[in-house]
Every structure is written in structure tokens, then in C-alpha cells.
């Protein structure tokens, strides 16, 4: 396949940045999208040009590092995958592909396609954990009975890899699917009850301070989420927040 790539290039956080066109030929449909970018970068290095900087790590859809906005969709035109799981067979010979970083005020661009998602880390630090005594008398989590439905929902919420596709996709740059998942995974389990009130209040406060937008329930985040995190998690977070606000 021969393709035209329109890629966002930005030298550093202070650079204005712009879209730059590249031609790439002989792309195999069996390549992953990131392998195609690797090939492009090899050709750029061979010409003494600056390679395109992009985030990646496991390339197995687990780590949540890859973060590209491809042809107007987070992780590209497929469902339930991260960018590293996207293959070139999803495109046709002669296509023009737009490749942009995840856009949000709370995800500033560091370089080219790499964005700073440490705002997610700060939200997690604000309450996305449980405090467990590990001094030698830790209770085995499996010894606590939990009904199957709650255990399944908690597990589904916990599959969020924090990639930020929800924020990138949302027209409001809202982080509520991410925070909803992180609140839900503990709200559904007995281990999460002790710190439930502080958790949701602190995480939502941090989310707001980071400059994410307000959720307007378009549902785009759920569609584009590589792990299929459900909107039910946002509804649960809303309930938890209102309960916590009334208590606090």
C-alpha cells in the first residue's frame, strides 16, 4: 500500500506545532500501525530527519501507553483495541491518514504525538487506592465473600488501562469514564468501603483541578474505550459523589 500521512509535528511543549505530510510506500497490510510508524521513522533517520516521537511500550494492548488519534478517532477506526493492536489492513491503498496526539488541556503535548498524561496519575494519587495493613496479618482478599455480579462489575471497571482515549474522544475532554472506573472498582467491593467517601470527593476534586471538561453523556468514550468500560461506571460515580457530598 502507498499512503499519505498527515502527522502532527511539535518540537517541544512550547513549540506551536503543525501538521506535516509524509509519503510512505510498500506498507504491508499485515503490519501493525506502530510498525508502519517504525518504518517511516527508519526512512526519516536515513535522511537525517528527526523521527516522529510517539508513545508505546508493551505493544500488546495492556500498558495503555500508545495514544494516537487516527483519522478522527482515538486508537483509530476499530473497536476494543489500542493503537498497537490496529493493523494496516484497516486502510486502503492511496488513503490519507491523519495522525494526531490526544488533545486536551489536561494532556499537554510534550513532543510530536507524545502527551503528558500525569494528570491521571495525580487523580489516582488523590484516592484511587485502598489502605491495607501489610504488617503480617493481611487478610486474604479471597476469604471475603462477594456476590458474583458485583465482583464481575468491579473487575470490568478495573480493566481500565488509563490510556486516556476517553478524554481524547470526548468533545468536552472529560475524564469521567476513567475516574468512574477507578471509583467503581473499589465502590463495588467491601475493601473499598472504608475510604469510599474521601475517595470519590478527592478524586473528583483533583479531576476538576486538572482542567478536564464536564461529561455531557454523549457516550463516545464508551464506544472508543479499548477495554469497553461502561457508562454505568460514570452513573455509579455520580451516585457515590452525591452520597459522599451529603455525608461530608
Amino acid at each position: 500500500m502507498n499512503l499519505t500521512l498527515k502527522i502532527w509535528r511539535q518540537k517541544n511543549a512550547n513549540d506551536k506545532g503543525k501538521m506535516v505530510d509524509y509519503q510512505i510506500s510498500d506498507v504491508s497490510p499485515d503490519m501493525s500501525f506502530l510498525e508502519m510508524l517504525d518504518v517511516l521513522n527508519e526512512s526519516l533517520v536515513a535522511k537525517d530527519d528527526e523521527p516522529v516521537a510517539f508513545d508505546h511500550d508493551c505493544r500488546e494492548g495492556i500498558c495503555g501507553m500508545c495514544s494516537l488519534y487516527i483519522n478522527g478517532e482515538a486508537h483509530g477506526p476499530d473497536r476494543g483495541i489500542t493503537t498497537c493492536q490496529l493493523h494496516m489492513r484497516k486502510f486502503k491503498d492511496g488513503d490519507t491518514i491523519y495522525i494526531e496526539p490526544f488533545r486536551a488541556k489536561a494532556f499537554p503535548v510534550i513532543k510530536d504525538l507524545i502527551v503528558d498524561r500525569s494528570s491521571f496519575d495525580r487523580i489516582q494519587h488523590a484516592g484511587g487506592f485502598i489502605s491495607v495493613n501489610t504488617s503480617g496479618n493481611t487478610i486474604d482478599a479471597n476469604a471475603i465473600p462477594i456476590n458474583k455480579h458485583d465482583a464481575d462489575d468491579a473487575f470490568s471497571a478495573a480493566t481500565c488501562i488509563g490510556c486516556g482515549a476517553c478524554v481524547a474522544t470526548c468533545k468536552n475532554s472529560s475524564a469521567m469514564l476513567f475516574v468512574g472506573a477507578k471509583v467503581s472498582q473499589f465502590a463495588l467491593l467491601p475493601q473499598g468501603q472504608v475510604e469510599a467517601t474521601d475517595r470519590v470527593l478527592n478524586m473528583v476534586k483533583q479531576m476538576d483541578e486538572e482542567g478536564f471538561g464536564n461529561c455531557t453523556n454523549t457516550g463516545a468514550c464508551e464506544v472508543e474505550c479499548p477495554k469497553g468500560i461502561s457508562l454505568e461506571n460514570i452513573a455509579r460515580m455520580n451516585q457515590e459523589y452525591l452520597k459522599a457530598s451529603l455525608k461530608g
Binding site: N172, F212, N214, N217, T218, G219, A220, E232, M237, Y241
Partner: protein, 231 residues
């Protein structure tokens, strides 16, 4: 509890509560208006009751007006905040791939409805306030000097729909109302946390409400217009 309205979720919750209140109002407005098609006398009596009952006029009406003002002001505030949350737009964004047009354009359907409320107030509310509270005529009669001249409400309603342009504007506004409700109904329930295995039926009910209620209002406007045109 303090500062809840300063949080993103608190604002969502307040927006949803005002929406639920307005949707309930819309249903009772429709229930009264449809009487004008099937039973003009009852329509007149109910309109007179609503127009002169102190509880409706001095308690419910101000709450309704505040609800409308709160809903659209908060809508603007949220839109501005949300626009600021993305300082650089995408060169290519395919919103249609993952969300409905209605959900992405609530501000535009909302603005169309707001413009319609302006026309609706000009047509009915301002003349009503003028008659009752400025001219002091609380009789509700076509001719306040003649006791058996009959109530004026049905006649006034019919008169408004003589105009082609007004009827078309009302129909367009109700289409925007349907588009707004198609996202807004279920969005309001999601915002108050009602999205779980027990509330699946609400989604179908929401769609039915969003289509049938505006369609009913279209029917009323077109019925009165055609009744005049064909008479």
C-alpha cells in the same frame, strides 16, 4: 455538601434536576393543549384555572421560569467550560463514529428552543400578563363587559395558528425539541446516577417520550392551522 455546585458532578446533577422538572412541565403543558383539539370547553376551563389559580401563578410559574433560566444559563456555562478544556482542536475529528448528532449538538438544539420560547412568550405569555396583571382583567372572558361572551383562551390559541409562518416556526421548534429530548431525557437519568440493570426500560421510554410529546405539539399546531385554512 458545601460547594457541590462548584464541582463537575454537582453541575451535572443540577442540570439534570432542572431538565427532569422541565420535562414534567412539558408533559402537563401537552396534556392541557391537546384538550384544545378534543374538547375546547374543557381546554378553556383548565386554561382559566391555570391562569388565575394563585398557587399556579405565584408559586409554580416563578419556579418554572427560574427552572428555564437556570437550565439555559447552566447550559452556556458548561459549554464555555467544556470548550476551554480542549485548547487545540483536532485537524480531523470523526464524532459521528461514536456518538449521535443530538448528543454533540445540545447547545444548538437548546438555542433553537430558547429562540422558540422567546416567540412563545411574545405570542402568549406577554399578552396574558398584560391582560391580567397590567389591565387587571382576571375574568378570562372574550369581552369582560359581557358575562356570557365565553372564555377567550381557545379563540386566542386558534387565532395564533392562522399564520403559515408561525405554524411552520412552531413545527421547526418542536423538531428541535425532539432532537434535544432524544439525548436529554436519558442523559438526565444518567447524570443522577440512574443507569444500571434496573433502569434499562427507561431508555425505550425516553425515546418514546422524546418523539411522541413533540409530535403531539406538532399535531396541535397543524390541526388548528388546517382547521382555519380548510374552513
Amino acid at each position: 455538601m458545601s460547594g457541590i455546585l462548584n464541582s463537575s458532578i454537582g453541575r451535572k446533577f443540577a442540570m439534570a434536576l432542572s431538565a427532569l422538572f422541565l420535562m414534567f412541565f412539558l408533559l402537563q403543558h401537552f396534556a392541557i393543549n391537546i384538550l384544545s383539539v378534543f374538547n375546547p370547553d374543557t381546554f378553556n376551563e383548565v386554561s382559566h384555572f391555570m391562569g388565575t389559580n394563585p398557587l399556579v401563578q405565584y408559586a409554580l410559574q416563578p419556579v418554572l421560569i427560574l427552572g428555564v433560566i437556570f437550565h439555559f444559563v447552566m447550559g452556556f456555562v458548561l459549554e464555555i467550560k467544556n470548550t476551554k478544556a480542549r485548547n487545540i482542536s483536532y485537524a480531523k475529528n470523526n464524532g459521528a463514529a461514536n456518538s449521535t448528532w443530538m448528543s454533540r449538538n445540545m447547545i444548538w438544539s437548546g438555542l433553537a428552543i430558547l429562540a422558540f420560547i422567546g416567540l412563545h412568550f411574545y405570542d402568549f405569555w406577554f399578552p396574558e400578563i398584560n391582560t391580567k396583571f397590567i389591565n387587571g382583567d382576571m375574568s378570562g372572558l372574550i369581552n369582560p363587559e359581557v358575562a356570557d361572551s365565553g372564555f377567550r383562551y381557545y379563540e386566542e390559541l386558534q387565532h395564533k395558528f392562522y399564520s403559515h409562518v408561525r405554524t411552520i416556526l412552531y413545527v421547526i421548534a418542536f423538531i428541535f425539541l425532539a432532537l434535544h429530548l432524544l439525548h436529554g431525557f436519558n442523559s438526565a437519568f444518567q447524570s443522577v446516577g440512574a443507569n444500571n440493570k434496573y433502569t434499562k426500560g427507561l431508555k425505550g421510554f425516553g425515546k418514546a417520550y422524546a418523539i411522541l410529546v413533540p409530535l403531539g405539539f406538532v399535531f396541535i399546531a397543524v390541526y388548528h392551522h388546517l382547521k382555519y385554512v380548510l374552513s
